[in-house]
């Protein structure tokens, strides 16, 4: 029992559940809940992205495109076509999943920086379409989105949203752990992401990469859908290049190939702009300096580095 709890699969999940359950006691008002909800949504996207970047070794600089597509699917289907929000969310996720599946094979053929370019291009094309189709999307000024409801029940108040997002986050972590611990995931990790080595071991690498790409895209789309219903508004910048960069930064900052790293990275980068407001004119400069500093001194990311330090000490 004790041994079981120590594995990341159950122990970590339990710890995260406890944190989510206890955190509200320390949050003084709704603003803090709001920040935590955004942390949770970003964490969901980042966990998916980390599966792709950290575990499958495939960089993506266009993931905000999937987030944006999910967000706009929900926005357009509920506001313009009066779909029930949950149906819109699922339709968006399915659509994004199909798109990701369709482009996965040619895109996953690319390597390294070419892959970075491919995904970046895909994200930018999506954001250009969302910006230009004014009649459908409201254009660069964005469009409002009305409330969320599940079978007639409408979540209202930040606390309800907090629990929804917290639950989704736990579900995502559980799903990600299962993918990572699956035979293919383990095989790929065992050979440190080397495809050639995995292939000689008889692992269907391409299949695995496509699967992870689709899963990460769908997670981003779902987070986007929940995001618009919570925020009540969406602009094309959600799908933009800068948002993609923010997401990948969260992943790398928290730690590649670390699911909890993605959560920590999302938490830090989401709260940092709020924490740095006291810098005023120096805010941007400080943000860039922190980003560089962390990556120079902790190139493996916060969680893996900290974990190693702890392990060394207990030894």
């Amino acid at each position: 029992m004790r041994r079981r709890l120590a594995t990341p699969r159950t122990g970590g999940l339990l710890a995260l559940a406890v944190v989510i359950a206890v955190l509200p006691a320390f949050l003084p008002n709704n603003f803090y809940f709001d920040v935590m909800i955004l942390v949770g949504l970003n964490a969901i996207v980042c966990i998916g992205l980390n599966l792709l970047v950290g575990y499958a070794g495939q960089i993506s600089l266009g993931h905000a495109g999937f987030f944006g597509l999910g967000a706009y699917s929900s926005a357009i289907l509920t506001s313009t076509y009066d779909w029930p929000p949950i149906a819109a969310l699922l339709a968006g996720a399915a659509g994004v999943g199909l798109l990701a599946f369709a482009v996965a094979r040619p895109i996953m053929k690319l390597r390294g920086h070419y892959l970075a370019m491919g995904t970046l291009g895909l994200g930018i094309i999506i954001s250009i379409i969302l910006t230009q189709e004014v009649d459908l999307t409201g254009g660069p000024d964005g469009m409002p989105v009305y409330g969320f409801s599940i079978l007639g029940w409408e979540p209202s108040g930040v606390l309800v949203w907090y629990w929804i997002v917290g639950g989704l986050l736990l579900l995502t972590v559980w799903l990600a752990l299962n993918i990572v611990e699956s035979p293919v995931g383990r095989a790929l990790r065992a050979v440190h992401g080397s495809e050639a080595a995995a292939q000689t071991m008889g692992v269907d690498v391409v299949h695995y990469k496509v699967l992870v790409f689709v899963v990460s895209a769908v997670l981003a789309s779902i987070a986007g859908s929940v995001f618009v219903h919570y925020i009540g508004f969406v602009t094309p910048s959600e799908a933009g290049f800068i948002h993609s960069i923010e997401l990948i930064t969260m992943v790398v900052l928290g730690g590649l190939a670390s699911i909890y790293g993605a959560v920590v990275g999302a938490a830090i980068l989401t709260t940092l702009p709020q924490l740095l407001t006291f810098l005023h004119d120096y805010e941007m400069l400080g943000f860039g300096a922190i980003m560089m500093g962390v990556m120079i001194f902790l190139p493996r990311g916060l969680v893996p580095t900290t974990a190693r330090l702890l392990r060394d000490r207990t030894r």
């Binding site: 710890a15 995260l16 406890v18 944190v19 206890v22 955190l23 320390f26 949050l27 003084p28 008002n29 709704n30 603003f31 803090y32 709001d34 920040v35 935590m36 955004l38 910006t131 230009q132 004014v134 254009g139 660069p140 000024d141 964005g142 409002p144 925020i231 009540g232 508004f233 602009t235 910048s237 959600e238 909890y260 959560v263 920590v264 938490a267 830090i268 709260t271 702009p273 709020q274 924490l275 407001t277 006291f278 005023h280 004119d281 805010e283 941007m284 969680v303 900290t306």
Partner: protein, 386 residues
């Protein structure tokens, strides 16, 4: 790990909150809390920057002079980085954490529209500094705005085009929110002014060359006037390319280009261009009888003395927003949100930098085309034409 982090964040955030309150809480009277979020960095920073400077300068002045009804003003200002999501986050912080009495700001339409549901739900008066008409049309209970709308600008331009006997217009617009809204208005209002749009081109943000689009306009038959919707560096590139191709049609731009930087950036290329602008821009040329002349000259002198940079009309939006808010708080005799809101709505005959405001339950802007003057760029300076 995460729990510790969560606590650390909570701790730091509350420490900061205490610091903020502590800094402003020294005087005996309870301060009036004004919250603001502006695009001080990012794509609209050239709008947000003068807005920020104006707000900070006048809040400091008012406090030096003893505040409003004996109460000092405490300004909490966040930089939204021209990002609607960040804007929404900061407005939640202003409402929930800083507990401000009124919110001024929102440099762009996207940022403003993203926070409209929040202020409506919270019931806090909100005066936006963003351009598009959609902010106040239809009227939203708690939302007001000070800048002229792009619709007003298009009307003023169309009036001038018709007055010169032209009717066939070539339209060229950028991809930003303002640009697209202006383009939409240009299409919708064309019929009313018997104007026919014979060419319609757009360009991307940050484009370095727009000659292909302008070549198409040049090769369109029968064009009598050229209207550009957009602002900032893009507007300069458009004007330069227009001149480069040797186009000589009457060239109109929107009030988004009404800044000295635009004239300096375009040089020769903007000679003879016409645009609608706030009276502020040509304050010295206004007849002495003009009601806005005194205020405009004063504002210009104050701003240029303090910041040593030429004035743009964008700071004026912030000035008017601040003064309308303060007027309403004075009349209401408190910071009770419902009373302040009602008083803002009753703003009549307020002579501002942007025009003379007459708000009503049906009109949360309160300006008409008379708040614009038509100016022409001559010898690198503004020339009032009427």
């Amino acid at each position: 790990m995460r729990e510790i982090y969560g606590r650390a964040v909570t701790g730091v955030l509350s420490a900061l909150a205490v610091l903020c309150v502590g800094a402003g809480g020294a005087p005996a009277a309870e301060p009036i809390k004004i919250g603001s979020f502006l695009a001080v960095t990012g794509g609209a920073s050239f709008l947000g920057d003068p807005e920020k400077k104006t707000l900070e300068m006048y809040v400091a002045r008012i406090n030096e002079a003893g505040g409003v009804a004996g109460r000092p003003i405490e300004l909490t200002l966040y930089d939204s980085g021209t990002d609607a999501k960040k804007a929404a986050s900061f407005v939640k912080r202003l409402i929930e954490d800083d507990k401000v009495d009124i919110i001024l700001g929102g440099t762009t339409t996207g940022e403003t529209m993203a926070v409209v549901p929040l202020v409506e739900r919270a019931g806090i008066p909100f005066i936006s500094f963003a351009g598009a008409g959609v902010i106040v049309e239809p009227v939203k209970k708690w939302v007001f705005k000070t800048p002229h709308t792009d619709g007003l600008a298009v009307r003023k331009i169309y009036e001038d085009i018709r007055a010169n006997g032209h009717s066939k217009v070539a339209l060229f617009a950028g991809s930003g929110g303002f640009d697209k809204s202006c383009r939409k208005n240009a299409h919708e209002l064309a019929g009313k002014y018997q104007i026919e749009i014979v060419a319609d081109e757009t360009h991307g943000k940050g484009d370095t060359d727009m000659t292909p689009q302008l070549t198409k306009i040049k090769n369109t038959d029968g064009v009598q006037a050229f209207l550009y919707c957009g602002f900032g560096a893009d507007a300069v590139v458009a004007a330069k390319n227009y001149r480069q191709l040797g186009l000589a049609l009457p060239h109109y731009q929107s009030h988004g280009s009404a800044s000295k930087r635009f004239v300096a950036g375009t040089g020769e290329a903007s000679e003879g261009m016409r645009l609608p602008a706030a009276a502020l821009l040509v304050a010295k040329q206004l007849p002495d009888s003009h009601p806005q002349k005194k205020l405009a000259l004063q504002f210009e002198a104050d701003y240029e003395a303090k910041y040593n940079e030429p004035i743009s009309t964008f700071g004026g939006h912030a000035y008017d927003g601040l003064m309308i808010a303060i007027g309403a708080i004075e009349r209401a005799g408190s910071t009770d949100p419902e009373k302040v809101r009602a008083e803002i709505e009753k703003t009549t005959n307020y002579i501002g930098v942007d025009g003379i405001y007459n708000m009503s339950p049906e009109d949360h802007l309160g300006l008409d085309t008379n708040s614009f003057v038509m100016v022409e760029i001559r010898d690198g300076d503004w020339q009032l034409i009427e």
